[in-house]
Symmetry: C3
Subunit: 139 residues, 3 copies
Amino acid sequence: MAIITQELNLSTQGHTEIIDITKNVEEVVKKSKISDGLVTVFVVGSTASITTIEYEPGLVKDLKDAFERLMPEKMEYAHNSAWGDFNGYAHIRAAFLGSNRSFPLKDKKMILGTWQQIILVDFDNRPRERRIIVQIIGE
Amino acid sequence: MAIITQELNLSTQGHTEIIDITKNVEEVVKKSKISDGLVTVFVVGSTASITTIEYEPGLVKDLKDAFERLMPEKMEYAHNSAWGDFNGYAHIRAAFLGSNRSFPLKDKKMILGTWQQIILVDFDNRPRERRIIVQIIGE
Amino acid sequence: MAIITQELNLSTQGHTEIIDITKNVEEVVKKSKISDGLVTVFVVGSTASITTIEYEPGLVKDLKDAFERLMPEKMEYAHNSAWGDFNGYAHIRAAFLGSNRSFPLKDKKMILGTWQQIILVDFDNRPRERRIIVQIIGE
């Protein structure tokens, strides 16, 4: 049994930017030489999340729209009033969605649906340098 | 330390159907002979999710109602316009809820509350054959 | 490779009380002597959740407000009508947020952002004694 912990670095634009990171994660998996196990993808920070979606422009727009409808960027947030920040919405969205997802690995491949891509969602209101941790436990 | 990766197959009706899969997962755990470790339950595909709830008819209805209120089936989705699909809502709900949950296993039992059942939620707008992966890492 | 499964016990007030449990989890990690691996934090029960947020009073208020806006405590829930309960909202919020999050551990430290705290959210409508399971798999 082995543990591999690798860091991916991505420059993002923020504002609920949605980036397909499936290939990046697959590359770490391939290099790890681990055949069976659990792959955990985790984003460092409190204004971004990891989840899955069918990565196509329509759904990318629909997901952004859903967040804007449910947790609007421009409403009043106590976080903004207290700190002179404007990214209260980003923290709330990230707390809902969570900072990690896990994927089963079998016979050297993550088990994913054909239309099930792993995405980073960067909610923050400015460009960021993001650290994504890919950890594989297996053999 | 061992890794067991098992697939469960379920026929679903879709339309935010909520199915209690606790017993199915427990059976895999029992057969695995693993006593202590981590159990990850993952659904393949981008229009279904795994989570937990007290599985009783009232809450099953309340959860469906909450999704319909927050991410309605019949509103406009760019996904639907672009692809002639009608399941944009299903993708968005699944991206929010996520495709996996993990459970601690100790002394041959998953640690769950009495009223905490593991559920599959199939959001899609048609019957599906679903693949659920149960992966156990432990000893 | 080792597995450590530890239980934390917390008295909560409920009503979407948000408690920073980062230090509690870090203590379990430290005592485990495990250097690299996966830390899973899981809350037992169907009316509480685990997630991450920047733990400051503004965001604690904002997160409570978001839940109250999206899944209000006082609306009609079939769960309440059927069982004479008043915590239908708590079950629905917990099903959305989920009962676990996982964190990568490297060189004896969980990889977390400076403003990324691990929180227990207790949605229930009364004080509870909560059991939180911290499980570490690693070496």
